[in-house]
Point group: C2
Chain length 339, copies 2
Amino acid sequence: MAGITDVAKLAGVSVSTVSYTLSRTRPISNSTRERVLWAVEQLNYQPNVMAQGLAGSRTGFLALLLPTDEAISDSFTFDIIVAAAETARDRGFHLVLWTEPAGETKGLQDLMRRGLLDGALLLSVRLHDTRVQALQEAAVPLVMIGRNENPADCLYVDSDAAQAADAAIAYLARLGHTNVDYIGPSNSAHQAGFGIVLRVHEALEAATKQLGINLRSAYSDPNAKALETVMIDVLKDPSVTALLALGDSAVVGIRSILQAMQTPVPDYVSVLGLLISTRVTETIWPQLTTITHDPKELGQLGVLTLIDSLDSSTTDVTQILLPSKLNERTTTAAPRFPL
Amino acid sequence: MAGITDVAKLAGVSVSTVSYTLSRTRPISNSTRERVLWAVEQLNYQPNVMAQGLAGSRTGFLALLLPTDEAISDSFTFDIIVAAAETARDRGFHLVLWTEPAGETKGLQDLMRRGLLDGALLLSVRLHDTRVQALQEAAVPLVMIGRNENPADCLYVDSDAAQAADAAIAYLARLGHTNVDYIGPSNSAHQAGFGIVLRVHEALEAATKQLGINLRSAYSDPNAKALETVMIDVLKDPSVTALLALGDSAVVGIRSILQAMQTPVPDYVSVLGLLISTRVTETIWPQLTTITHDPKELGQLGVLTLIDSLDSSTTDVTQILLPSKLNERTTTAAPRFPL
DNA sequence: TTGTAGGCGTTATCAT
DNA sequence: ATGATAACGCCTACAA
C-alpha cells in the first residue's frame, strides 16, 4: 500500500510538503500542490487512519452512546443513528456504536483513556443521567441528543417538547375544542426518567389553563390491550371531542383501536399526534394530523454540534431546541357539537 | 496519560515484557506477570488503540455496512445492529457504522486503503449485490447477514427462509387447512432484489404442491390502505381458512385490518406469521402464532463469524442458515368447516 | 515556500 | 524467560 513517502518521492518533494498540502495547513505554491495532488492520484494514496490518529491531535472517531437496558429499538432512534452516521461520514469522521447500560460509563471512559475518541453523542438521555457527569469529569467532549434535567453548561440538541405541546393546544383551541383528552405513556419507572414526558405534561397543563380548556389525562402502555382499556374509558365521556396522543407508538396503537371500535374520525373525535416522527407522518399513518419532529435533524445537528465544538477553541455551549411544526391532515376538525 | 513505558518502569521490566504480558503471546513467569499487572492497575493503564493499530496487524475495527437507498429502518435491522455492536464490544472490537448506497463501495474501499478496518459486515444483502464482488476483489474479509444469489465461497449468516416456509405449510396442513392464502410484499423493484421473498415463494410452492394444498398468493405494500384492499379481496373467497403473512410489517398491518373488519380469528380464519422477528412475537402482537427468526442471533453470529475468520488462517467458508421455530399461540386453529 | 527530524505508543524481530 | 530496538505512517515544531 502506498504511503506518504511514496507520494513525496513521486512528486519530488518532502513528506512534510505532502502532509501540509493535504491538510491545507500551510501555504503551498500552486506548482508543487499540483504535482503532489497528481502523485496522490497516481498512487491512489489515502492517509492511514491509525497513523494520523497517533501522530495528530484528532482520531476522527465519534462514539454514539446507546443505552441497552431500555426500550431503545424504535424507528425514531434508528433514524437518528443513521442520520448521525451519514453526517459523520460526510465530515470525514467515523461513528462507533457503543452500547452500554444507562448507568455505566466505564467502557466509554476506557475508550477515552485508550485514545480512541474525539467525542461522544448521548442517546436516550434521562432526566438524571449519570453518564453526563462522568463524561464531563473525564473531559470527554459530548453532545446530548435530548437533555437531562439541568443541562446548564452542556451541549445538546433536542426537540422543543414545550413548544410542541403549546402548538397542539393552540391548534385544538383554534378549532373550537374545549375538552381535550391527553393520552401519554404510563408512568412506569421506565418512561418516568425521560424528559419529554414531563415537559409535555407541564406545558399542556399551562397552555390549557391559560386557554380555558379542560384537560383530562390518561396513561397507557403502548400495547394494544392496555390502550384499548384506556380508550374505552376515555370515549365513555361524551364531552370529549379531541384526542391528543404523545409519541409514535401510542398513535399507531390508537389507530387500530379506533378502527376496531368504528369510531368516526374526525367526525366523532379529532385525533392529533404530538411529537410524531416524520416516518409515521409520511408513511405509516399519512392521514394523521401531527405535530412532527424529525429524527434526521436531531442526528445531523448532534454530530455537527459535536464536531464544531471540537474545532472551536472557544467554550461556547451550543444548545439547540428544535421547534416542531404542525402538519394538518384529515384526522382533526371542529368539535361535533357547537359551543 | 500513562503509557506502556510508565508501566514498564514501575514494574521494573522492559516495554516488550509488558506488551507480551498483556497480549499473552509469549510465556511470562508468574512473578513478572504479577508485577506487571500490578503496575497496570496502579497506573490505570489502557493500551492506546491507535498505536496498537499502527504497530500491530489488527486495528480492532469492523464496519457495519448499511445501504441507505432502501427501506432499512425496520426494527429487525436495528436489533441486528445493536446485537452486533454488543458482541463486537464483548470481543474487544469496535463497530463502525458505514452508510453507503447499495451500489457504491468506494467509501468502504477507501476505508480499507486507509488501513482502518479488519473486516466488514454486510446488511440488507440483495440477490445481485455489487458490494460483494467489489469487497472480495479488495480482499476485505466480509460476512453477509443475509446472502446473495450465489454465495459460493462467501461467508454468511442468514435465516433459513425455505425451512421456515416448509414449517409453516406443514403446520397448517397438520391443522387440516387445505386452502391457504399467502400475503407477501408487493413485487416492487424494491423488494424483488431481496432473497427472502424469492426463497419463501419457491419453498411455499413446493411444499403446498407436495402436500396437496391450494396456495393462493396475494401481494401488497405494507401500508394500511393497500393491505385493506388486498384483504377484502382475499376474504371474499369463503374457501380460504388460513392466512400466511410474510414479515413484520405485513403482519402488523393485517392485525388492524382484521380488527376493523371484525373478522373472528382464528374462528373464521387462522393467521400465521412467517419469519417474524422476536420483538413482534413477544411484544407487539404476542398472541400471534408465528414462525420466528431472531435478529439478535443474526447480529451476534455475524460478528463472531467475522472475527473467527480473521483469527483462523485457514480459508474455511462458514455459512450458517438459522432455522426458525414455530411459536404456537392463539391465532391459529383447525379450519372452520370439516373436510 | 520548502525541507529535516523528532516524536506519537505499540508490536515484532532480533538477540541474550 | 526477558531486553533492546527497529519499524508502523504520519504530524509538526524547527530550520533554512
